[in-house]
């Protein structure tokens, strides 16, 4: 009955009448949304000034959606899932989409910039100081909107602008250094004015004042608004035909399908731009014959490495967890803490330390345990693989020790007691009760650990750097390289000759492989859950 009386009450009363303050929840929400909006609007302003239209639109949409969701009464579920969705969009979907986009371009060494930037750079690289050109003290001058340069040559003050070559100015005065101090018909612009006006400064940097009517004589240019020299440029950019023409030699440079300017005499310009190359990177990633065999071997080792690491560290961790979960072990808390130590160490530091300890001549492993036998742990293909597996086991078993200890402690004691009453032995109990129940909670973690180790760049890079090299391959890859470290090597990022397009294509291939393996594995773990 009470519900009826409630519904009879007028529910929608104006806030003006029953307003009893917002309540702390609302204040907190308002403050939070203020912060969100403030940051959002700053980001939008930044995107606006940087002319990043995609980010501007995406940011505006996200901000609008956030405001609608949190200030509307009809979107309660969205209020909970929106933050997660936004993170998913920014950190997963965007990253993957961008990687896929880069994979379809030839972005990398020599194709680093847009066409316009490449043209700018080509023009910069082409403009050369005329041999023997003196450095003239310079005064920047204006006349109305026209910007000009004034210099003194042979005691005569001259001035000119972009359209007017230098000409003598009657009554021009210069100081002792030759810097014009008074140029009739022109207003002098101080360096300070330029420095406080970035747009004007840019115009000064871009300004070229021809020294004579003959363009071949070159033009004055300044970099610091304080001195000028004569420069000469021979390349001309034609935007309509997208060609660069060398006016001295008559060679016309046309961009080819890879974004390189090729001259009609077969020469090319050093700077190129990135273009869309479609699926070419993917085709190269799977068909390049120099890489095919090494990559297959590396793929096989990657699977072996990831699987063996998970299996060995899981089994060792489980074994220790079982032992140290027994109540008869004294000082379990201290011992458990000690076990976790390798896990608490940064992995790359441990890998570096092990690299030193496994050194054939100076390493403590050989000196203490192998009578200084000089075993080349990191230089032999098989031993290096064993070393990688061992170090990774050392690094990751504490994780499984932790996980298994937790899982063991949460197992229902009734099942164990029931089994005991039924007369099950210790081994039988472990095999039929403990282990299957343990697998239910740890199998998904094992899959995650597999995926992590599949791309465990750190340990490979720090411990062996992929070495020892394949003696029979013509590419710089090695026996302990896993796919991700091979990608790093192939894409040339280390040597400075990066091919990000190819690297992105390869990492997408690896992503697909890991995805398929994980999907299959997760499907298998559903069977485990049937045990419960």
């Amino acid at each position: 009955m009470s519900s009826e009386t409630l519904t009879e009450k007028p529910m929608r009363v104006s806030h003006a009448r029953n307003w009893r303050g917002f309540g702390w929840g609302f204040v907190a929400k308002l403050l939070l949304m203020m912060v969100v909006n403030a940051f959002g609007v700053t980001a939008l302003l930044t995107a606006w000034s940087a002319e990043q239209w995609t980010f501007l639109i995406a940011g505006a949409v996200l901000l609008l959606v956030a405001d609608v969701v949190y200030f509307s009464r009809r979107t309660v579920p969205l209020k909970y899932i929106l933050p997660g969705l936004v993170f998913l969009l920014i950190f997963q979907v965007f990253t993957m989409g961008y990687t896929a986009y880069v994979a379809t371009t030839n972005y990398g060494a020599g194709h680093n910039v847009t066409m316009q930037q490449a043209v700018d750079a080509a023009l910069i690289q082409d403009e050369r100081q005329v041999d023997g050109s003196p450095v003239y003290p310079l005064t920047v001058v204006t006349s109305g909107d026209t910007l000009g340069f004034a210099v003194t040559i042979d005691g005569v003050v001259l001035a000119g602008s972009a359209d007017e070559p230098l000409q003598a100015i009657d009554g021009g005065v210069a100081d002792a250094s030759g810097r014009p101090t008074s140029v009739p018909g022109w207003d002098i612009v101080s360096v300070n004015t330029l420095l406080s006006d970035q747009a004007l400064a840019q115009r000064v940097i871009d300004l070229r004042v021809a020294v004579s009517d003959d363009a071949n004589d070159g033009a004055l240019r300044t970099r610091d608004a304080n001195s000028a020299s004569v420069y000469r440029s021979s390349l001309v950019w034609d935007e309509a035909t997208t060609t660069l023409t060398n006016t001295d030699t008559g060679v016309v440079y046309t961009p080819n399908e890879y974004g390189t300017f090729i001259g009609d005499d077969g020469s090319s310009l050093p700077v190129g731009f990135y273009v869309n190359v479609g699926a070419e990177n993917f085709v190269k990633a799977v068909t390049d014959k120099d890489y095919a065999t090494p990559l297959l071997r590396i793929a096989a080792w990657t699977f072996a490495f990831a699987f063996l690491t998970v299996a060995s560290s899981f089994l060792l961790g489980l074994l220790f967890a079982l032992i140290y979960n027994d109540e008869r072990v004294k000082g379990r808390a201290v011992l458990r803490t000690l076990f976790i130590l390798p896990y608490a160490f940064p992995a790359f530091m441990s890998a570096l330390l092990w690299r030193g300890m496994l050194n054939a001549e100076f390493g403590v492993v050989n000196q203490w345990f192998f009578f200084g036998a000089g075993i080349n742990w990191l230089g032999d293909p098989v031993l290096a693989k064993l070393a990688v597996l061992f170090v990774n086991l050392w690094l990751s078993y504490p994780y499984w020790f932790l996980v298994c200890t937790g899982a063991l402690q949460s197992l229902p004691s009734e099942t164990a007691e029931a089994a005991k009453l039924d007369g099950a032995g210790r081994w039988r109990m472990f095999r039929s009760i403990t282990f299957p129940l343990l697998m239910v909670s740890t199998a998904p973690l094992a899959i995650a650990s597999f995926a992590f180790n599949f791309n465990n760049f750190t340990i490979i890079y720090m411990l062996t750097n992929g070495g020892p090299r394949f003696a029979d391959a013509s590419v710089p890859l090695g026996h302990t390289d896993i796919l991700i470290s091979a990608i790093y090597q192939i894409s040339g990022i280390a040597g400075g000759r990066a091919d990000y397009g190819l690297a992105s294509a390869l990492s997408i291939v690896v992503f697909v492989v890991v995805g398929i393996v994980s999907a299959i594995a997760f499907r298998q773990t559903r069977k485990l859950e049937e045990i419960q």
Binding site: Q117, A121, N226
Partner: protein, 416 residues
């Protein structure tokens, strides 16, 4: 309705506040009077972004302090790993996120030009005070792209208590002196462990007359120069002194091990750069040019460090003023040297303030017989093949075939 207005007001206020904060710097800019003709520069409100590495940050900060004090402009130093600067500069300049100026090595130049991210520079009034070798190194195809400030090269470092201060003339003399000294190892050299280190080994390679790229009148072509008899002789030398031979070269020695061995007096001679001197605190040492192993001069790579201006800098004017008026001066060069002692590329820098002043002279002598490290973009592809082949030969692989394969694979990679 009422709370919506409240919300709107709160929103507007916060936006205004932020907008005010972000434009605060611009608001304080003083407009200089146009008639002012004094040379004092007033760039208050402008910010110059410079990328530096950890070692050089204090040095550049010292040079920037004068600039800030005199011009009112702000210099924002962004500290980065030196190894990261090259790739980050290439990646970020085109997006507009790059710095106005960055510290860099001359051997990046080819890649930076290919990537279209560097502008040309002028050296300013003191142009004639720069060392010609350094200026040449920063020059590419006749254009100057960087303002050099230091050079560096590796040299022979010897334990004076064991082998005296006299420079050995040849490899054999050095080994003989090392053996006679009774040290555990006559000679140590860093091979970067199993990875191999073509850079540190290069003086011995050049002493056999096998440069990494064929040189055409001073500048490098993209033709690999390590093949032929000279290269084969060097490979054989590596093998003979490697783990299968005398054992003076060993892939068990990396940078830290090498320094430790030398500092503990177990090595009589080693080859290192000025950056390693800080590790040699327990021994007396002197620095000499590297002895020849193959008969010709042992020429180490000479690296030049300098400042690059971004091709996309919006502050190009200020950046150029900073370089030509505040870096290319004796005071700034001295400050750079005092902050981080490297062989100066500018005349008149007083090097006596260094921790090891006489060592600087030794490195200078070694650099004088050196060759510039190639700055062509192809150099980036060389290291992997080169280091691995040297490491394999030192470990006992067949020298002739390993070296030959390396040359073939490298040539193929450069063409591919």
């Amino acid at each position: 309705m009422r709370n919506k207005i409240g919300m709107g007001a709160a929103l507007a206020t916060s936006v205004l506040l932020l907008a005010a904060c972000s434009s605060g710097e611009a608001a304080v800019t003083e407009s200089a009077s146009p008639s002012e003709t004094s040379t004092a520069i007033d760039a208050a409100g402008q910010t110059l972004t410079i990328w530096v590495d950890e070692n050089r940050e204090p040095a550049v900060a010292a040079a920037a302090a004068t600039f800030e004090a005199e011009t009112g402009a702000k210099v924002e130093l962004v500290q980065k790993n030196f190894e990261d600067i090259r790739a980050d500069f290439l990646a970020q300049v085109p997006t507009g996120e790059g710095p106005d100026i960055t510290i860099g090595a001359h051997d990046w130049l080819g890649a930076l030009i290919e990537g279209g991210v560097v502008n040309t520079v002028d050296l300013g009034d003191n142009a004639d005070k720069f060392s010609q070798v350094a200026v040449d190194a920063m020059t590419y195809d006749g254009q100057l792209y960087g303002m050099p400030y230091s050079t560096e090269a590796i040299a022979l470092i010897q334990n004076t208590d064991l082998v005296g201060a006299d420079a050995p003339a040849t490899w054999d003399d050095m080994i003989a002196a090392g053996v006679a000294s009774g040290a555990a190892r006559p000679f140590c050299i860093n091979t970067n462990g199993e990875t191999g280190d073509g850079y540190t080994m290069y003086p011995f390679q050049t002493s056999f007359g096998a440069p990494v790229f064929v040189q055409d009148g001073g500048s490098y072509t993209s033709e690999v120069g390590m093949g032929g008899n000279a290269g084969a002789a060097f490979a054989q030398w590596l093998y003979d002194n490697g783990e299968a031979g005398t054992g003076y070269l060993s892939t068990t020695i990396d940078y830290d091990t090498n320094n430790q061995l030398f500092n503990s007096g177990e090595c009589a001679f080693t080859i290192q750069g000025p950056w390693a001197l800080g590790s040699y605190t327990d021994v007396n040492f002197t620095v000499n040019p590297i002895p020849s192993a193959g008969g010709e001069a042992a020429s180490p790579f000479v690296g030049v460090q300098g400042f690059y201006v971004s091709s996309q800098s919006e502050n190009a004017l200020l950046a150029n003023i900073f370089l030509s008026n505040y870096i290319a001066t004796p005071e700034a060069m001295q400050a750079l040297y005092d902050g981080d002692p490297r062989l100066p590329a500018f005349e008149g820098v007083d090097t006596s303030s260094a921790a090891y002043p006489e060592a600087i002279a030794g490195f200078q002598a070694s650099a004088e017989q050196g060759v510039p490290m190639p700055s062509i973009p192809e150099m980036g592809s060389v290291w992997d093949f080169w280091n691995a082949a040297e490491s394999a030969i030192i470990k006992g692989a067949d020298p002739a075939s390993t070296w030959e394969t390396m040359n073939t694979d490298l040539t193929a990679a450069l063409e591919g």
